[in-house]
Symmetry: C2
DNA sequence: ACTGTAGGCCAACACCTGTTGACATGTCGA
DNA sequence: TCGACATGTCAACAGGTGTTGGCCTACAGT
């Protein structure tokens, strides 16, 4: 055995490093180029292996993307936070997630032209943002709309800052982003309903 | 002469109909599929002509896109509107533009994976939204940031509703969109600065 | 009626894509 | 030591892409 444990079924394979390298390269390429322009060949070259290895380990491009786009927003528990600070906290957290992880970017860029990626994005927000909003909102029936509106502003910010790179939006520092967007998120979360 | 005027230099060529058909088909394809998945062959098939015609009339794919993505937001003059209604008016107008014209969609879908399209999007907002915001804002130095923030919310709404199709956002009717997003735009436009 | 030319089609090119199978190498248990 | 299996490389495939040039056809101006 090359690893510590002796009786465990999950032994560390020698190929795990390669698998990880492929996944990292895939995330970077998908994030930078989108689904169709990110080629298996380019990903393999980045990972310093042959394109056929990608196929052996992940089956096909679709499955490779599915593996590379696995993502957890890691939303914090906000039930204890003072009500009027929630918007700012949520905004700050989302900015941090965008800045330090390629995965969301890969998902966003791909989702615009790829149906499967779009479906994944929908599930991500429904499964991860949905519950958090439901727990914070007075009337649970309003939760989906409010979560949707938050997605509107969060994704719009990411789109203009990281993808389209509109200069004034790129220029904002973290504090400014929280100060401007925080109240918007706050209103979508807890403001009086507007329908 | 086939047309009314006799001495005019701009005579209507027989190919004008074809040119227009190509442009319409191109807009639809770019809007539905994005830049790389919208193929010249598919566009030509939609326009019922040969792919080589597209090349003859527009040179190459890049120039075809440039011609198809020509867009005017047609922002109304808002200087006479009561200050607290401006956000709602602007929001309503933008929704209408999105709903009745493929071009913005083509631009958005392409801009996510195509540098030239992204640059075009930046120019669109700088040249068309910028001046309107400058005219409405107290301190002209704040105009770019405020226009950027508006872009953030406007594009985020379009992204989630028309591209990603998040169900709760798709379900909103026009009045609900204006009621929810109007105040946000209003605050970005005229609210106290938050930096 | 004749002819030049604009409008249109066809076939092909060079290239790139995802994907596959055959083959070499190295590692580890028996 | 030997053989089984994991790891990796190479070359090729079938199909799709933007793009090009040659050829046909029908109409406009004389």
């Amino acid at each position: 055995m090359t690893e510590a444990s002796s009786t465990e079924a999950a032994k560390a394979r020698r190929s795990d490093a390669t698998r990880a390298a492929i996944l990292t390269a895939a995330r970077e390429r998908f994030a930078a180029d989108g689904y169709e322009r990110a080629t298996i060949r380019a990903i393999a070259a980045d990972a310093n292996i042959d394109p056929s290895m990608v196929m052996r380990y992940y089956g096909n491009k679709e499955k490779l993307f599915a593996a590379a786009a696995e993502f957890d927003l890691r939303l914090p528990d906000l039930t204890g936070v003072p009500r009027d600070e929630i918007g700012a906290r949520l905004t700050g957290h989302l900015v941090d997630r965008w800045e330090h992880d390629d995965t969301l970017m890969a998902l966003l860029r791909a989702a615009v032209t790829n149906q499967a990626a779009a479906e994944r994005m929908r599930r991500l927000f429904a499964a991860q943002l949905g519950p958090v909003v439901t727990a914070l909102v007075a009337d649970p029936a309003e939760a989906p709309v409010r979560a949707g509106l938050i997605a509107t502003q969060a994704l719009g910010f990411a789109l203009t800052r990281y993808v389209l790179c509109l200069p004034p939006v790129v220029a904002l520092d973290r504090a400014a982003v929280v100060a401007w967007l925080g109240p918007t998120i706050q209103r979508y979360l807890a403001g009086e309903r507007a329908e």
